[in-house]
């Protein structure tokens, strides 16, 4: 460990050693008991299904292909059972009359824990996000926290990794406007990294290295996160009341969706989430996971144990860890710190991708990160529960090629059986099932699979019957049932498309095509038919070819396969229609796919939707969306603002900034004489990071006669004359 002794943390004296012997006992015993029961149930159900399936396949004569089919069936069924078990145990836990002692929130003392002498940083790493939206959310989080009266215990940090100079300029302006409006200079900070090494994890690590020592905890937010002040305070209180806890993850609820896709996803997460999360918490206890945002982290152990190693080997498995959150939770657990999931801490929100195509883009990114976790599965001294979380993430994507293989093998078997003289099926070799017909046994296996897949939905619906208020907040029991029915249909159609997409991602990643980290588009506008066609033409084509093949093999087999093929066949209209905002809003009008936040809007969402007051100085500055790099050079105030940002603080960023050397001077000349097209984005970024160059450019662009300026600057000055040079009397 490379942790200098002079850098001891102020918090160390306040918190006991997490490895006190009495900290284990009851909690560990409860975890062992519950997880054993949980995983034994999964194992038992999977074993029964496997035996039934093997016997079913064997009854019509065993072949190699059937062996492969069974090999694909076992993990697929096991994974479905893993989901089912969460819902089942969750439903059962929620029905218990007594409070679950295994919930962190129940450990919090009844009287409020004082936050005095503690300091929490609320950090929001951003990368090429919609600037206005980001700062609007910071504003809402800030105002909500202000209402609690505990604002002075928190500082906000916007940690930018944006590389586009135009976006950088907008972020700076938005930060200044926000601080002016709220009087929050010295409370909301903005820092941009010139070099985004390690991406989000590197961004957070740089924050920890620079300011981590000044804070006891940090609350990590995503660019689209909203967290009420009350929840933020409760999170900090929980950390103080539970000194062995290293991380508390809230459940960020999806909100503000307007498209059909977004609204269905939002409803799904919100409605089914309750039983699933209760089940997850039932077995995992203090062995929780970290989902990357809307969580509070204790600084000391995080900085000590969670600096991520570079993985050996080549991409896609080697190099920087792409998906850091699961690993950080595993490392905290490995060091003996508790990690809890706290669904009870409400008013924690995020936004989901509005369309299938954007959801797929996010999956592509997550898929790379999750598959990379294979490297850590057998890492030394990881807790078994952490391995389960890692494996669960990997299986989330590996099930796609497995399912595809299962369906392909089924087609091969159907083809083989259609070309052979049908043999008489043997009676079942299982005790007690000898009289069971071949078809009945097949239907039984299918039925068992469907139970694993669909019973959780009915359990969530059944849970709703016990809570009238909750039912009302989802639009009433009848509308919720209709929504569940429609959602089941939608997810049945969506699943085969995701299967093809995820299979493609897995193959691309395994064969070394780079896993990019693109910013997620958050717009709710629909996609065009042409885009839907472009993105899903292969899925439709595969569906048509497969349907024809199945029909030729055996029309009965075609009918069996139709539910799966249907999704592929309708992939283009499905992607188009579900991306529509107007249809989504119509559903909302019909009170379908309603979530409680739409029934009764929480204050934090109201704050986020609230526009900044009109009198703020921003009206005298360029409009944020239209603002660009040239404004930082031309505008006397924005130029000063940017230079001010570059010249503050002895940060490592400041020390590594480019000097105004002859190379930079030449670039400045080129920029003025030939325009920005003359320079690369990287060169422009370096200029923007050089304080002296910026000051020189501002003076020079105003002083030079037009003959010495590129047409670009002449036009900008002309525009400036029109936009700012029309004074009123």
């Amino acid at each position: 460990m490379n942790f200098p002794s002079h850098n001891t943390f102020s918090s160390q004296a306040k918190y006991p050693n997490p490895k006190l012997p009495n900290s284990q006992t009851r909690l560990e015993r409860r975890f062992t008991l519950r997880s054993t029961l949980f995983f034994c149930s999964i194992f038992a159900i999977t074993l029964i299904a496997t035996v039934l399936m093997a016997d079913f396949l064997d009854r019509s004569g065993w072949t190699t292909v059937k062996g492969f089919l069974l090999a694909a069936f076992i993990p697929l069924f096991g994974y479905a059972t893993y989901g089912f078990a969460h819902a089942w145990f969750g439903f059962w836990t929620l029905r218990r009359k007594t409070r679950d002692p295994g919930l962190l929130v129940n450990g919090l003392p009844k009287s409020n824990v004082s936050l005095a002498d503690t300091k929490t940083a609320i950090i929001m790493p951003i990368y090429h996000e919609d600037v206005q939206d980001v700062f609007q959310r910071i504003r809402a989080n800030y105002l909500s926290l202000q209402e609690t009266g505990e604002l002075e215990r928190f500082d906000f940090f916007v940690l930018s990794d944006s590389q586009n100079p135009d976006i950088w300029a907008r972020e700076e302006l938005a930060w200044t406007q926000l601080c002016q409006e709220l009087g929050a200079f010295g409370r909301i900070f903005y820092r941009r990294r010139a070099d985004n090494t390690g991406k989000k994890a590197g961004n957070v690590a740089e924050f920890c290295r620079s300011w981590g020592k000044r804070y006891d905890h940090m609350i990590v937010l995503d660019a689209d996160s909203l967290l009420s002040g009350k929840t933020a305070v409760k999170m900090a209180q929980q950390m103080i009341a539970n000194p062995r806890v290293g991380l508390i993850q809230t459940v960020p609820r999806l909100c503000n969706a307007e498209t059909v896709f977004g609204r269905v996803q939002q409803f799904t997460m919100r409605f089914y989430g309750k039983v699933f999360l209760a089940g997850l918490n039932y077995w995992q206890q203090h062995n929780g996971n970290y989902w990357g945002h809307n969580a509070i982290i204790r600084m000391e152990p995080f900085m000590k144990y969670c600096d991520l190693p570079q993985l050996p080997g080549r991409k896609p498995f080697g190099g920087h860890i792409l998906s850091h959150d699961f690993v950080e939770a595993a490392l905290l657990r490995r060091a003996g710190w508790e990690v809890w999931l706290a669904p009870c801490l409400g008013e924690s929100y995020e936004e989901g991708p509005p369309t299938l195509s954007e959801s797929a883009a996010r999956d592509r990114r997550w898929c790379g990160g999750n598959l990379q976790h294979t490297m850590l599965l057998f890492a030394d001294r990881l807790k078994p529960a952490s391995r389960v979380h890692l494996a669960g993430g990997i299986m989330g994507y590996l099930t796609a090629p497995l399912w595809l293989a299962f369906l392909l093998l089924s087609t091969v078997i159907a083809h083989q059986e259609s070309t052979e003289i049908p043999a008489e099926e043997e009676p079942s070799s299982l005790p007690g099932l000898a009289t069971l017909s071949f078809e009945t046994q097949g239907l039984f296996v299918l039925g068992l699979t469907l139970v694993m897949l669909f019973l959780p939905k009915f359990l969530a619906l059944a849970d709703l019957c016990f809570d009238r208020d909750r039912a009302r907040s989802f639009g009433g029991a009848r509308r919720t049932s209709a929504a569940v029915l429609l959602e089941s249909l939608f997810s049945a159609l969506l699943a085969p498309i995701l299967m093809l997409l995820h299979t493609r991602f897995v193959i691309e990643i395994l064969t070394g095509l780079s896993t990019s980290w693109n910013p997620q588009k958050r717009s709710s506008e629909g996609i065009r038919w042409a885009d839907a066609f472009h993105q899903h033409k292969w899925h439709s084509l595969i569906g048509i070819s497969w349907a024809l093949t199945a029909w030729v093999i055996d029309p009965v087999f075609f009918l069996w396969l139709l539910p799966v093929l249907l999704g592929m066949l309708v992939s283009i209209p499905l992607a188009y229609l579900t991306s529509r905002r107007d249809f989504g809003l119509q559903l909302k009008k019909w009170r379908l796919f309603l979530i409680p936040e739409e029934y009764k809007r929480p204050p934090i969402l109201k704050l986020a939707a609230q526009k900044s007051p009109e009198h703020v100085p921003s009206q005298e500055l360029p409009i944020l969306e239209q603002m660009g790099l040239w404004d930082l050079i031309l505008d006397p105030y924005l130029s000063a603002l940017h230079v001010g940002q570059l010249s503050t603080g002895p940060t490592p960023e400041a020390q590594s900034r480019p000097q105004f050397d002859p190379v930079q001077q030449q670039r400045c000349q080129d920029l003025l004489q030939e325009g920005p097209e003359r320079l690369t984005a990287e060169e422009l970024n370096q200029l923007m990071a050089c304080e002296d160059a910026l000051r020189w450019l501002h003076v020079e662009v105003w002083r030079r006669p037009n003959s010495q300026l590129a047409a670009f600057w002449q036009e900008r000055l002309e525009d400036y004359h029109h936009t700012t040079g029309e004074p009123s009397a």
Partner: protein, 185 residues
Amino acid sequence: MEPLIHLFPHLRDTELERWNHAYVRVETYFASLRIRNREFLRHTVQRSLQNAMSRTAREPGVEPVVASMQEAERLVDQWIGTIMGTSQTHDTERHSAKGRLAMLLSNVPTEQQQQFLEQERAPAEVLPGSSDWYQPANSKREAIIMSPQPLNLGLMGALAEVLERPRPSLLLLTFLGVLVYLLLT
């Protein structure tokens, strides 16, 4: 734009064109400083241009636009110096940028239009050193060194060193081979 011919009747056509260009540039510059009062703007531009013209008379080689912009900047910098209670240092550009930042943060462009560039009516609200509390990234850092804990990856660590990444073509061939084999058996 102010008809320059009335201001400077002695100018020849070619010179007039250059001074017109200088006028537009200085006017745009002051407008970019958010001076909205038309009368005040005209007065300020004329003041800068008159100073510039006196200077070009002494230094004939200087371009009117350069001289005019320098005079305009001097006017602003002098005012900033007065308001902030600082004398102009040799690093004029830095001083000027700091002053403009202070003006922005103190809402001078929007809320104190009438006081802008008026030496006699300098507003008390234009706080000297406003930019001292302008700390975007919080300069109160206490750097620490973080480094990863040793992590033995076990089996996967060893495999990562030896395993080759599968080629897409090889993967496709394997898939087709398996499919053909399964169909034939």
